[in-house]
Symmetry: C2
Subunit: 145 residues, 2 copies
Amino acid sequence: MTKTIEDFKKILQEKNIRLSHQRLKVLEYLVQNKTHPSVDDIYINLQKDLPSLSKATVYNTLNMLEEVGLVNVLTIEDNENHYEITSKNHGHFKCTSCKKIYDFTLDVEEIKSTDLADFEIKERDVYFRGLCPECLDSDQDSSDK
Amino acid sequence: MTKTIEDFKKILQEKNIRLSHQRLKVLEYLVQNKTHPSVDDIYINLQKDLPSLSKATVYNTLNMLEEVGLVNVLTIEDNENHYEITSKNHGHFKCTSCKKIYDFTLDVEEIKSTDLADFEIKERDVYFRGLCPECLDSDQDSSDK
DNA sequence: TTCTTAATTTATAATCATTATAATTTAATA
DNA sequence: TATTAAATTATAATGATTATAAATTAAGAA
Ligand SMILES: [Mn+2]
Ligand SMILES: [Mn+2]
Ligand SMILES: [Zn+2]
Ligand SMILES: [Zn+2]
């Protein structure tokens, strides 16, 4: 079910999109890091192996991957986008304390509203925000005697 | 149920927040325009009556109103925030063609996931994107003979 | 394998939303 | 009406993202 780099190579080749080293590295990063990274996260980490990498390339690659449907953009934060490999639909929870973005099981296709009978829905995002268990725990610690 | 400017005045006064002319105008704009406007929308329209209005004031006011819970910020778009008076929970649909943001009936409190049992959820946003009926109609027109 | 060339990457500048700063103005109270 | 802390304004600064143009490269042809 979960796609490998080889699967992605095949998909991009079928669309006549060149398999540049940079593009494959960005894809690999997203496949290996299911942390919903920002452009900066990706850029800083890939730079270790690719010192010549340009941030524009990371943007270009992510925009291209989004266009062909291989990656999904999260606008759960108001100042910075986050990215993930497109996968079975699920919801996202952002902890306002540690800033981590968690996946949670949810069939967003099941969310219905009669108001939308005549709308063509193409994307569905469910974003929750609050405190994650780790941060709730440490909150308690700090309020302990 | 739906609050008037007088209701808002009372709430702000109770919190010792000054009822400046600019703040009341921003609130009034949001009460009268249920269109999920951006800062620019609000700024451009209020400027007609308040030529000296500063965009920083619109930002300051909206941030303050969000902090006290009277307005809600939508991050449905990746480059610009949109605002609305806080109201009973509902979902948002953004038409990717005409850019309008529509409300739709949905009890977001009813969206549950066992994965979140130990999380403290404070905000819930449901964002759908696609084509609205008007844009679907005009699409059809343009494909007609 | 080497050559060719259009596509990609890079470095850099530009844009745009948002926030910060500091001087000016004002709401609320005495 | 006078006082003053808070709000507004003008402006600069920041930070994410996009645009541009020159240098590099992937992929097919020879
Ligand atoms: Mn996810
Ligand atoms: Mn709404
Ligand atoms: Zn946390
Ligand atoms: Zn539309």
